[in-house]
């Protein structure tokens, strides 16, 4: 550990941040997810089932909302690798959650092109409306706000990703409306950006 007495250390850096995953309830894939898992595994050579660990974890996360120790065990068993192998992967990638998150996870891009176009104002507005800090979930358990690095839609900055759906050219005004829509209409308010041309033509 590098150390300098005069430096103020962040609470989360230069300390072991390892936390054990929640045990969670007993976990097995639903029949539908199991069928999708069995199909995904065929994409890889038979002796390389481990390659399917990311898709397998996505299935678990979609089924349960976040990744628990029991989900890790299940995935490890199906792929024929150890729990440590799976935990290694889970702890590395940012898109896996090991703690419960809100029904809508709002990822606000904070990297250069979005930042110079007002991403921070968007985060501030979201956090003020929901009475939370970035990284937290609001009291109702509906919204989690996370600041993330470049999402790759810099021409339509600032961009936010709500669960898997993108919303572009956001401003403090539009995100307020988006929160209202999500509360009122749930997932159907997630328009995303797919096929914008088609939608514009309608």
């Amino acid at each position: 550990m590098s150390f300098h007495p005069k430096m103020a250390y962040d609470a989360t850096f230069h300390k072991s941040a390892r936390q054990l995953e929640d045990e969670g309830p007993a976990f097995v894939y639903t029949a539908e997810n199991r069928a999708r898992f069995d199909e995904i595994v065929t994409h890889y050579p038979p002796d390389r089932r481990r390659s399917a660990v990311l898709p397998a974890l996505y299935l678990a996360q979609y089924q349960q909302g976040y990744i628990t120790a029991n989900a890790i065990r299940h995935v490890a068993e199906l792929l024929g690798i150890t729990r440590a192998d799976v935990e290694d992967v889970v702890s590395y990638y940012t898109m896996f959650y090991t703690r419960p998150v809100g029904r809508f996870v709002i990822n606000v891009c904070r990297t250069l092109s979005c930042a110079v176009n007002g991403a921070e104002r968007v985060t501030e507005e979201l956090c003020a409306t929901l009475h939370i800090k970035p990284g937290e979930t609001d009291a109702s358990g509906t919204f989690t706000v996370v600041e993330v690095e470049c999402l790759g839609a810099c021409d339509r900055a600032p961009v936010i990703m709500v669960n898997d759906a993108w919303h572009e050219r956001q401003s403090p005004d539009t995100v307020g409306k988006l929160l209202d829509d999500l509360r009122a209409r749930g997932e159907s308010a997630l328009t995303g950006c797919v096929h914008v041309v088609e939608r514009a033509g309608q």
Partner: protein
């Protein structure tokens, strides 16, 4: 220049197989299957196609290096587009996915691989659906699968979703991730052409690179080379973002100058009303920035390199006079600190220290000796890591120190940002 890669993307349903076929899609695959694999590699090599992911390595050479004696071989398409400022592959996959599928199939044929994996970043989930449907349609019409178009050639294409890691864009880290491990780079050599996915010979190519292959096969090497300057032929997608009037993806020949891309009304339209351009990052956050008087260079791999920067992934980020350069370095180092994979100590620890010191200066608590410290930490990271991430991470620090040292010194002297107060009020990002 006529548009080659994205000619019809603004038309409705441009992503469908019918639209692609109506514009001559999959003709290149038919033509390719009528030739020998080595002829395809020779064509790509003669065309001078250079990798569009960032390094600009000749694609034909990469394919030639793939060891033909070992089975199986793989094409791995790098669709983990994560370099800040880059969004060209996103457009290709969203609006013209069949071009990539065709490129993958031709690539597989050329190096006699039977499987191509497209490693797409996890955040591109909405694009992934499009791509998967394109692949399913291609299977249904016999452009993929067994005995393609009666040639006896088999090819499968699979999409593999990443899960949020910038480092997975590095080719060996991508292979590790595809094997179900952490996305951390391998020591090189051996290069993927000899020891790639599952230890088998593999070619790792960027999305735009593979999308360049069908036009080369169908329209010929001479046509392709004539599109751009020597050794920088072919069409290029430029992503222009930041503080310009019309950000977007623009397709152009590499004869175009950076100034045209940033300032001409045909492209990004220049700085916004009443603002002046201050600096331009020509190739993504990992390359040195250029000043407004350096923009009259051709936006080609070689010319930008001569001007002291790199074309990289052609992610042009324009910054106007409201942008504080210390803040810019701090913003980008926040990115690199977060995305460092943690394998090599200089990068893992160094990016954290650089960010801490930059934040301190930016908030007005810095000291003059911090500037030497930044330079010395940077020198301890650059060139001392397994992959190019370390060099990339120190670039924003070194380049802003070189061109805008006075802003750092003003921050330290004044204990605050010295941009005019009314600009700061408008400055979209706080912390000032």
């Amino acid at each position: 220049m006529e548009r080659v890669l994205i000619p019809h993307v603004r038309e409705p349903n441009s992503f469908t197989l019918d639209a692609y076929l109506a514009h001559g899609g999959y003709e290149a695959l038919k033509a390719a299957l009528g030739r020998k694999p080595d002829e395809i590699i020779a064509m790509v090599e003669a065309s001078g196609l250079r990798g569009r992911g960032g390094a600009g390595f000749p694609t034909g050479m990469k394919w030639k290096f793939v060891d033909k004696k070992i089975e199986p071989r793989y094409i791995v398409c790098n669709a983990d587009e994560s370099e800040p400022g880059t969004f060209k592959d996103h457009l290709l996959m969203e609006r013209n996915p069949h071009l990539l599928v065709e490129g993958c199939a031709i690539g597989c044929y050329a190096i006699s691989a039977k499987v191509a994996y497209i490693y797409i970043r996890g955040e591109f989930f909405h694009v992934q659906g499009n791509l998967e449907r394109a692949i399913a349609d291609a299977y249904a019409r016999g452009f993929l699968g067994r005995n393609i178009l009666g040639s006896g050639f088999d090819c499968d294409v699979y999409v593999h979703r990443g899960a949020g890691a910038y480092e997975a864009g590095e080719e060996t880290a991508l292979l590790e991730s595809l094997e179900g491990k952490r996305a951390q780079p391998r020591n090189k050599p051996p290069f993927p052409a000899l020891f790639g996915l599952y230890g088998k010979p593999s070619a790792v190519n960027n999305v735009e690179t593979l999308c360049n292959v069908p036009p080369i096969v169908s329209k010929g090497v001479d046509w392709y080379k004539a599109l751009g300057p020597e050794k920088n032929g072919g069409p290029k997608l430029y992503c222009v973002s930041g503080q310009v009037r019309k950000p977007g993806v623009f397709e152009a020949s590499m004869n175009i100058t950076l100034r045209e891309l940033v300032e001409s009304d045909e492209f990004a339209g220049g700085a916004r009303e009443g603002r002046k351009l201050k600096a331009v990052i020509p190739g993504g956050s990992s390359v040195p920035l250029l000043l407004p008087d350096q923009l009259d260079v051709r936006a080609s791999f070689d010319d930008i390199q001569k001007a002291g920067s790199l074309l990289g992934s052609a992610a042009i980020i324009a910054l106007d006079d409201t942008t504080c350069m210390v803040w810019l370095a701090e913003n980008l180092l926040h990115f690199y600190r977060h995305e460092s994979c943690g394998k090599c100590t200089p990068c893992r620890e160094g990016t954290d220290w650089l960010h801490k010191i930059l934040r301190r200066i930016e908030r007005g608590d810095g000291q003059m000796k911090d500037l030497d410290l930044l330079a010395s930490i940077s020198a301890n990271i650059g060139g001392k890591t397994l992959c190019a991430f370390g060099d990339a991470a120190v670039t924003p620090v070194l380049t802003t120190l070189k061109h805008f040292r006075h802003e750092y010194e003003a921050h330290i002297r004044e204990g605050r940002c010295t941009l005019p107060a009314d600009w700061r009020a408008r400055q979209p990002v706080g912390a000032h």
